[in-house]
Amino acid sequence: MSTPYTTIIGLEVHVQLATQSKLFCGCPAQFGAEPNTQTCPVCMGLPGSLPVMNRAAYELSLKTAVALHCEIPTFTKWDRKQYFYPDLPKGYQISQFDLPMSANGYMKISDDKGRFEPKKVGITRAHLEEDAGKSIHDEVTGKADSEIDLNRTGTPLLEIVSEPDMRSSAEARAYLQELKLLLTYIGVSDCNMQEGSLRVDANVNLHLETPVGHVATPIVEIKNMNSFRAVQQALDYEAKRQYRVWQETGQKLGDSPKQTRGWDDATGKTMAQRSKEESSDYRYFPDPDLVPVRTTAERVEEVRAALGELPADLRTRLTATHGLSAYDADVLVNQGPDIVKYFLLAAETSGDYKGACNWVTQDILRSVKEQDVAIDQFAVSALQLAALITAINDGQLPKPRAKEVFELMLVDRMDVAAAINTLGIEQVDESALVTLCQDLLRANPKIVADVQNGKHQAIGPLVGQAKKKNPNADPGRVREICLELVARGE
């Protein structure tokens, strides 16, 4: 007998803030350098060294908090979270405990495929902290020494903790996508998961409706998920696993301590992590080396004013003001800030949002993907695209030939005028078209007969021949004229 259940999901996301230098020292925060070449006495935690807060890291976190509709307390401070690990050289992580720089926000999510109703996901808190270094373990035998690289130690992270407001892996994925979109829009992080600039931990359990009442299963924290797809798979797996375990053991929330499980992409399973490493007493206390930060209400308003248009607002504007469909607006906005910037420039310049949207979401995205280039490196600039759209709308360029023009712009990097010129595109005079059609009908009595017998599709080959004789001939018009001439019996 199966019991109906709801999956309850909360996410903890660590994003690396897009600063030049680390959170408390001047070492570069860039990814990918040779091990242990980006460290100094401060991030190595050498005796006597002291941290000084990076202004940009604070500003970026403030911006994020405002974008997430968080409350920004006037007073925030730094705490030490204490535990021993070789990639944590001070024996503590500088983080924020009881007075985080922001709390009680939300973000809206929705699904264009309608798998769930649009909803607000609560943001419990977003706080700043420093990253740890990297340990490279001997995964094969487990016997060789681990190697420690401190390059990443001290890079600024913003930990964004959601309320347990998500009810399916699809909602969780949508939350992550929307969060990533928001963060890249406002430029606070590149959110590159491969480079670890966005890391996700999930807390999940089930609420079951049993004949004897409402029951919750123990909460499990899932780590090690390296893509949004992995998050979705891990959550689906974990929900099924918890249901099975509940059926087998009947264990409820509170019967066992919170468990941590690691996601294994290869096997598609979550695995329990050793319990001894879990039980910790972090002995948080205010970091005496760092002073608190005070943020005035005016400052928060300044940040809010400077934030610009967020993805959700842009979607609304595109549909309400510019007549795009909700689907189109979603597809476009979800491409991220660079594509959107390109789109907006083309749309505003040409005045044709719908046209720009079609070009961008179809030909441009495909070509960008095929060429694997960044949009600002793309052969056809936004202004060139606008010129192309304008040429079509002004009637200088017959729509059917627009793709040929685009190809030349793309491959030979021509501008619109040059491409039109090269292709010899010009307006074809109506009388010339009629003459052309008359010639073709005369030369093809069999087709004329077929059409007269009601087989209108027989006209097709004539359209093709017309195009050969004059590439500028509008195929639609050719078809119309031919049918008309046959009907009149000419």
Partner: protein
């Protein structure tokens, strides 16, 4: 407040100190004595008193976001008790 040997053992693990049997005994006595003295604080009325974590009331001290030179790797690793040419080495975490 009296501190038990079990308390001391727990804190010794938290603080990553290995204490001999004799040290555990002595530590239990010493800590109990000191904590009992410190319990004097309980009699102070601190209702509504803001905790004072810093000796000076300074806030908003920032450094600008500028890259400054890091240490050459050889210098960074110079004091390491275990290392190879790239990084620090430590006994395996998972091994027994």
């Amino acid at each position: 407040m009296a501190i038990t040997r079990a308390d001391v053992e727990k804190v010794a693990l938290l603080a990553r100190l290995q204490l001999t049997d004799g040290e555990l005994k002595m530590m239990t006595t010493d800590l109990s004595q000191i904590v009992t003295y410190v319990d004097l604080l309980a009699e102070v009325d601190t209702e509504g008193v803001e905790p004072m974590a810093h000796a000076v009331e300074v806030s908003n001290v920032f450094a600008e976001d500028e890259v400054r030179p890091s240490l050459p790797r050889e210098q960074a690793l110079a004091n390491a008790p275990g290392r190879n040419e790239r990084g620090y080495l430590v006994p395996p975490v998972l091994g027994g």
